[in-house]
Symmetry: C2
Subunit: 333 residues, 2 copies
């Protein structure tokens, strides 16, 4: 990993390097120019416009990346690589966005498209997995070798990092914490299984279950998970019950992750993690109550918030050019 | 990894090297002299005598290892390292058998004890994890990068190997497939949890459940899992039902392992795997029926049988001396 700028002795390089990083989500694109030490020089947000179809989304990605390259040069910086994070199934080695429901992507060779358009080395990664890399190297997992990053939002996903590198699995599909069955008699999951953790404990599932059970007294609008947390904190009976069910299901899922992965620390991120101690305190208690021979992981909130994906994309780009970067030091006056 | 003997050009070394390998189980010790290419020169079995207490077991291990060193020299071979595999909790980096119920071990610095007695570099590993290494490099997992080895016997354990190296986790406790909860309303497990896979689908659990349900008609002796498999194949109603419950629980467990680890191949070993196609054929069907977005792993029988642990201990020893071995080539006439 390159973590310092290559410098000639006692002089600053004429054009300090930056990488271009994009975290492409279903509704918005977070993008930034990131220095080799992980600090951000400049950031921008753009709408994804996924309703325009996948070709238009790809064009937007390329245009945003090009715009950032221009911005870097205007600021006297040298853009040296591009990192892109997308949701769904990603073949990182091939640089292909294999499948993404949110973006309408199916086998899009995004890494090569970006490389060709910008003339820069590029890398493509999975949004949660690069978020995990960022939390492990720069965020709440710093200092531990085995870090499990969990993103609990509309869905639930996880990424195990070992020494700051994501564990991807044979088909790039490892870390599907949201789709382990914790309630064999539970609700149907979007994936087709029954009782997946995501079907019970995602922010979407919490809001949906509360709204359904609150029944005719409700206005018909779906109550958000954040509102359920607030009402539970206020002692409302239904909200308390649903929040406890959610915490219990998450503890069951984390116990399984502990048995198979044995992480030192579990970093909890995503929208539901904004509940802070209202989530972490009961979740620690519920997990501790379930441990038998397992060692207890530290359970900590994510430190990088919704910047994790963009920073992770930058780290992926920096990894890609690690050798190149070091080699190029000789050319700097 | 060293996989060829160091040789001077066009000559055989005067004393070809071997490693001393021991797989220490609750009842027996499998031991062997293994060549750097993984082939066995000589093997021996000894009783563990665990009832004599841990100090006596350690002394037996040292004596067996010394005996093998003597045998190697008598055969004109040079013993260059020792590898030991034990069950329980093993700190491989420290070379300490942290805890083993079967052997009565508690914080035994076995690696250093062996090194001191034999004057050779030594390595200590976890029995299932080194078995996984052997199956991944020399057995049924050859050619795949992500291999999940499962040992289904008295208990259930698993080891994921990545490029032939075992994934150990932050506390050396990864791979506890037997202790993931698949039946929240299921039987109590020895670990203290309820509904663990091991409490339903281990050979011990299968025999126990059948015997309990067969009731007064039985002689009072416990029916073995192998006998349950035979009776199920013969169409006996109770045996058929219990075997299907077992297969279903294993499929649920493997589905979770697939979601988190995403292996290319699952190697099924241990006593229950001796059921062969009576286990693998329905297990493939049950797993396939549960897959939604997951990729299907190849499900194959272990190839090395009960030699896997001993061969894995040898591989661990060879890994330890990899550099040394190459360096020593210069000293061979």
């Amino acid at each position: 990993m390159t973590d310092v700028l290559p410098t000639a002795p006692s002089t600053e390089p004429a054009h300090p390097s930056v990488v271009i990083a994009l975290d492409v989500g279903g509704t918005g694109i977070k993008s930034a120019l990131v220095r080799p030490d992980g600090s951000t020089h400049h950031s921008e947000r753009h709408p994804t416009g996924a309703d325009r179809g996948p070709a238009a989304v790809v064009e937007t990605i390329l245009t945003v990346a090009e715009g950032l390259a221009g911005r870097a040069r205007a600021d006297g910086l040298a853009p040296v690589a591009v990192g892109i994070a997308v949701p769904g199934v990603v073949d990182q080695a091939a640089g292909v966005a294999v499948w993404s429901a949110n973006l309408g992507f199916r086998d899009v060779p995004l890494r090569d498209l970006v490389s060709e358009r910008l003339g820069l080395p590029s890398a493509l990664g999975h949004d949660v997995r690069v978020g995990g890399i960022a939390e492990a190297r720069l965020g709440a997992g710093r200092g531990d070798r085995y870090v499990l990053f969990t993103a609990i939002g509309t869905g639930i996903a996880a990424a195990l990092t070992i020494d700051g590198t994501a564990f991807v699995g044979a088909h790039g599909a490892a870390g599907e914490l949201g789709h382990i069955v914790v309630r064999p008699d539970g609700p149907k999951c979007g994936c087709g299984q029954v009782g997946c953790l995501e079907a019970i404990a995602s922010a979407a599932a919490v809001g949906r279950r509360y709204t359904a059970l609150a029944g005719s007294g409700s206005t018909g609008d779906r109550v958000s998970a954040a509102e359920v947390v607030r009402r539970a904190a206020g002692g409302e009976e239904l909200a308390v019950r649903i929040w406890q069910e959610t915490v219990d299901a998450l503890a069951d899922g984390l116990l399984i992750a502990q048995a198979l992965y044995d992480p030192a620390v579990v970093v909890v991120g995503g929208g539901l993690a904004e509940a802070g101690d209202d989530l972490l305190v009961p979740l620690r208690t519920a997990l501790r109550a379930r441990l038998t021979f397992h060692r207890e992981p530290r359970l900590v909130p994510a430190a990088l918030g919704d910047e994790a994906g963009c920073l992770g994309a930058a780290l992926l780009a920096l990894d890609t050019i690690g050798d190149l970067e070091t080699g190029s030091a000789a050319h700097i006056p």
